[in-house]
Symmetry: C2
Subunit: 122 residues, 2 copies
Amino acid sequence: MQSFNELKLNSKEPVYIQIASFVKKEILLKRAILGDKLPSRREIAAQLSVNPNTVQKAFKLMEEEGYVHTSGNQGSIIYVNEVIYRLIEEELTGELVREFITSAKDINLSFKKVVELITEHW
Amino acid sequence: MQSFNELKLNSKEPVYIQIASFVKKEILLKRAILGDKLPSRREIAAQLSVNPNTVQKAFKLMEEEGYVHTSGNQGSIIYVNEVIYRLIEEELTGELVREFITSAKDINLSFKKVVELITEHW
DNA sequence: TTTTGTGTATTATGACCATAATACACCTAA
DNA sequence: TTAGGTGTATTATGGTCATAATACACAAAA
């Protein structure tokens, strides 16, 4: 994980949440693995054209959620184990599917119709 | 549309957006049709345990988006025609499917895997 | 040793959302 | 005619998010 250039920010979700989600996605895709070094707060802020304080807020969250470790002023690294990986997988995949199904049922879409729509739009 | 009791508010989206989305959903499901009278701002606020100003903000939005009309102090009514209905249908259905597919591809889910997951969770 | 970059923290400002408390003109039903 | 409900508007307060501008202690590199 040397760069955050692939992260395109939207204006719906808080930026610090989007940063944490991006890192979780990189872990899920195994593009970020145990021990990987992350860029400094200031460097990420520059890459995203965002305030360093916002990036710091993202790091605070990621440390609390357990998949990023920081020691002193040596920078931060990715930390993953089996449990954490499963949690991230469940969050990114399970929540996506569950929320989609809830919304689809909410507007009376049938299972058949949903599969049709996805097939059509894929 | 006499009641907003079925609307369960979440804390992720702005309340006034959720109110407008609820009305759009009622229109899509044809439970709200042309000419239907809506409860007063104050009554909706009471039903949702929300501030009347927040409800007023929702009405302002719904009028701007065209599916609610207000005249004087006679209350507000649903306004739908073919064009508006199609817009709402596209917004609620199309956007849901498109955003889901984008997110699914984002985490490298295959079409096959997605259908499996939906089948499993439905 | 001095400079540079690091993580961390604080204070102030501003936008957006929601609440609270009013206020006012209008219509309608008692 | 009056009392009550309507839509609408305004002002103030507070929380969250993001920015801006600093500040400080620490470690590594020049």
